[in-house]
Amino acid sequence: QMNFTGDQVLRILAKDEKQLSFLRDLEILKPQKVDFWRGPARPSLPVDMRIPFAELDDIKGYLESHGLAYTVMIKNVQVLLDAEREAMAKARR
């Protein structure tokens, strides 16, 4: 099973279309580095993206350099996956 230790999901609320375009660029420039859970649609809707641990500094730097504020929606994806597996095992028992 693929390990997601340290991967984070960032939530970004773009202020305007220009900021959204920076996120769309990210989708094109770094498709293997970013997994959009909720893609850039319109400024009123948040954008959620999972960033592999190894890419975190790079992507956060990109966001900051373009004035895109973000919050960390999930700090460590693997922690949630472990909890999910444990819950399934418990239900099975």
Binding site: P31, W37, L80
Partner: protein, 310 residues
């Protein structure tokens, strides 16, 4: 000890084998109203199974519900399973559902993307596409919600096989999509189609591929509004609603556009609840509340379909 559908844990996520085993038990226990139909096989040759809820008659007007076309959206499969059980338990007690089932059949495709779902359990929890492969590319999978004929290959889909929104080589190239198209087309009397996704709390109708309003836009808008209101009353969860292209973004080759263009007027897609903390990893404790509220919206759409024959 043999498991039965009644001992199945509806408040937990399950593997494909467990779901298929549950289907067998469920059909056996409710054989008067539920049957299982094998409509095809996935790319990796897994069975594509649908449940048929019927109180008799032949080729009645029908309602289609599918869950899990994007395999990582586990809450959708779980909601589908809960909904199936709700249909059998509510028949004869809930007058609205009883009226619906006395006139129409309901079909549920619980695991629309079985290969992707099995892969999420064995290799990559966050897998979204199917598992088809083709010569000339090392990337695997097609986004099954970009592979339908309506608007195929347009904006909001991708021709790069490595993209998460890869539309595939041709419309309905994927066996998972072709199986549904063949079944619905062959049946010929579907009046509503509901495709369930997660997670951004939306109820949407066609079009995804175009900003143009569909001819039934006003009616679909009013119905979506009513359904969202019914959903809200259960646990206070707010959904936004509208056409896909206006509410979310332009997306081509999607299920509901194909349904609408194929003559199924009441074509809707849900994005189930999001707590703003978990995304696709919604805790299992939220399966039942999610299913409960979704049921009320589905029931509203089904009731409208019953009362507005066309």
């Amino acid at each position: 000890l043999e498991r039965s559908a009644s001992s199945f844990s509806y408040s937990s996520y399950h593997t494909l084998e467990e779901i298929y085993s549950w289907i067998d038990n469920f059909v056996t226990e409710h054989s008067d109203i539920v049957s299982k139909i094998h409509i095809g096989n996935s790319f990796e040759n897994r069975s594509i199974l649908i449940l048929k809820f019927s109180t008799g008659g032949s080729n009645r007007p029908a309602i289609w519900i599918d869950t899990g076309i994007h395999s990582r959206e586990w809450i959708t499969h779980a909601t589908g399973i809960w909904t199936a059980r709700k249909i059998v338990s509510a028949y004869g007690k809930d007058s609205i559902l009883t009226d619906i089932l006395n006139t129409m059949d309901i079909f549920i495709d619980l695991v629309t993307n079985p290969d992707g779902f099995a892969f999420t359990h064995s290799m990559n929890r966050l897998w979204r596409k199917n598992k088809s492969s083709r010569p000339g590319t090392s990337c695997t999978g097609v986004d099954l919600n970009r592979n339908w004929k309506s608007g195929f290959g347009g904006n909001g889909s991708n021709s790069n096989p490595c993209s998460e929104t890869y539309h595939g080589p041709s419309p309905q190239s994927e066996p998972e999509v072709a199986a549904i198209v063949d079944f619905i087309t062959g049946h010929g009397n579907f009046k509503a189609l509901i495709s369930i996704h997660s997670y951004s709390q939306m109820l949407m109708y066609p079009y995804g591929h175009s900003m143009e309003p569909v001819s039934s836009q006003k009616e679909l808008y009013r119905l979506a509004k009513k359904a969202v209101k019914a959903l809200y009353k259960v646990h206070g969860i707010n959904y936004i609603f509208g056409s896909i292209s206006n509410t979310l973004y332009v997306a081509s080759g999607v299920t509901v556009d194909w349904a609408y263009d194929s003559g199924i007027k009441y074509a809707f897609t849900f994005e189930l609840r999001d707590t703003g903390r978990y995304g696709f990893l919604l805790p299992a404790t939220q399966i039942i509340p999610t299913a409960q509220e979704t049921w009320m919206a589905i029931r509203t759409i089904m009731q409208h379909t019953l009362n507005h024959p066309y």
